[in-house]
Symmetry: C2
Subunit: 326 residues, 2 copies
């Protein structure tokens, strides 16, 4: 391991509201090993920092490496970030405000740490590793429990004035539509996130529509997962198919809006919903987006699903670490 002796490994961390994922990457950004811990955000900032540090140590240890071989760590965190100081300005999911994540982690690990918004990190991972840097203008849209976006303009993450750019999930696309967790109505997130899909199915079941999901999971549909929707559709479940198709159409309209506004070269979709339902959703998303976008805006652009799955965040973290480590 001559190259590792030179401290040129990178660690990417995906810090979510419920879990922490850390990945050790080679200098060429090949993923060598991962480790996972729950976040336990209710225990507060210091405890979460300890857990991130532990997760990094675990991943490095599992890879039979040691921390001295790590040149830098990149973290994607859910919220607005101050990129220079590595502070998390605010992260509602973690209940953090002005949290000095970089500083505290560097104190614990004695390795340079860089912090980025989680969706920006995912977009960076897709752009640099999955697409091998072949575009400098990319919009990432990530559909999971919520919906977020990451924007790369001229090869750099675009953060906006307060570091909050990319809150695509709260683009209203249906004034007067279903209530969103943010308090507004008709947000993209209220129409096409996992939460929205599950709520729509539960509402229809309560209204008497039939689905095989109730045979699998019981009438309350507790513990419903995106993968269950895929299984149900493949078994011919018309209710689930209709709901997922509806979400795909809303997503296509959202993609068209964003193409009209931003005209990126590549639109990448990812996140748990797309990972589980790519075959069911992507063709509808692409068709709807091309139908709704203005003539001329879509010439030569690509709309595709990321293959990075759960590893998009840690991959982006590693890209960030490599870009910024001197």
């Amino acid at each position: 391991m001559a190259e590792a002796a030179k401290s040129d490994l990178f660690v990417g961390v995906d810090l979510g509201g419920t879990k922490i994922l850390a990945g050790v990457f080679s200098p060429q950004l090949k993923l060598l090993q991962t480790a996972k811990l729950s976040t336990k955000s209710s225990r507060g900032f210091a405890a979460v920092v300890d857990r991130v540090a532990r997760c990094v140590r675990d991943a490095v240890d599992e890879a039979d490496m040691n921390l001295k071989q790590v040149r830098a760590i990149g973290i994607g965190a859910p919220g607005a970030i101050e990129p220079e100081t590595g502070e998390v300005i605010f992260a509602p999911n973690l209940q953090w405000k002005d949290a000095p994540l970089k500083k505290e982690l560097e104190k614990q690990l004695e390795i340079p740490v860089f912090v980025e918004n989680d969706c920006n990190a995912c977009a960076l991972g897709v752009q640099e590793v999955e697409l091998k840097g072949r575009t400098r203008n990319l919009l990432g849209i990530f559909l999971g429990t919520g919906i977020g976006g990451g924007l790369i303009i001229d090869g750099r993450v675009y953060r906006g004035f307060n570091g909050t750019a990319g809150e695509l999930g709260h683009m209203v696309i249906q004034v007067g539509g279903p209530k969103c967790g943010c308090g507004n109505n008709g947000c993209f997130e209220a129409l096409a996130s996992r939460t929205a899909l599950f709520r729509e199915i539960q509402t229809r079941v309560k209204a008497g529509e039939k689905t095989i999901l109730t045979d699998l999971l019981g009438g309350e549909l507790d513990d419903l997962k995106s993968g269950d929707l895929r299984k149900a559709i493949r078994k011919g479940d018309k209710l689930v198919e209709k709901v997922v198709e509806g979400a795909a159409e809303y997503t296509g309209i959202a993609v068209a809006n964003l193409i009209n506004i931003l005209n990126p070269e590549v639109v990448v979709l990812g996140g748990g919903v797309i990972d589980a339902l790519e075959d069911e959703m992507m063709s509808i998303i692409v068709e709807t987006a091309l139908d709704y976008a203005m003539p001329g805006t879509t010439k030569g652009i690509e709309i595709l699903a990321s293959k990075l799955g759960d590893n998009a965040g840690i991959t982006g973290g590693a890209v960030l670490a490599r870009q910024r480590a001197k």
Copy 2:
């Protein structure tokens, strides 16, 4: 005129679907004189180029200057632009495709010509002249017959991959809403442009609602202008007030969407509708936008109406000419 003898005047041109406006500007971008001609786009590209050239000559002559004193010309045109060659890639309003505007105008006038999308030019004019460059991140939203946008990121016009970025008017904000000229339903433009306002008023009048506009203009409401709406509201016309307030709310939601997505420092609203109805609309727009935007996104940002009015386009053209003339 020692300074003029050095050929350091600039001319800005606003090339619209129905009229051409040209303005002569001092080296410090003070507007000295304007001239106006109808576009007559049905006569074809060559004829329109002749008319633009004539309008420039008229403005310069009215200012008691001559063309030799003009260092460069900047034009805002309605469509996608190739900024280096100055070609208009496509402009549906003018029925142009790959039109060599820069080349043909330079042939006629023997002065360097630079071309930009009209809404981008307006945004540039606001940023550089009205706001004196105090922000480097600005989103301009222009409400007229249609709705368009111009985006300045890091002090530079952002055009996107195909030069079409900023098609804000065709952001769908109400799936299933009123039909838009583009063929989709529920576009921002179908809810808050002048066309949308007039159509909504006409529909309500046909449905039996009362407005003093019919006394002023007859039952068909031909020749309705944005200024008539302001007059009607100030005379206590409840129908018009309600329709204008509705459009202001939709605009506020659109502004919130764009703040969530782009997080600009300054959002400037302009165009004929805002020029005529600023007092009636702006407070509702700002209040709705702040209400709908996600917490944290609006901290320190400004939402304001441009004071440049009809001169935004020519001002931006002059800024473009000064920026790019060597």
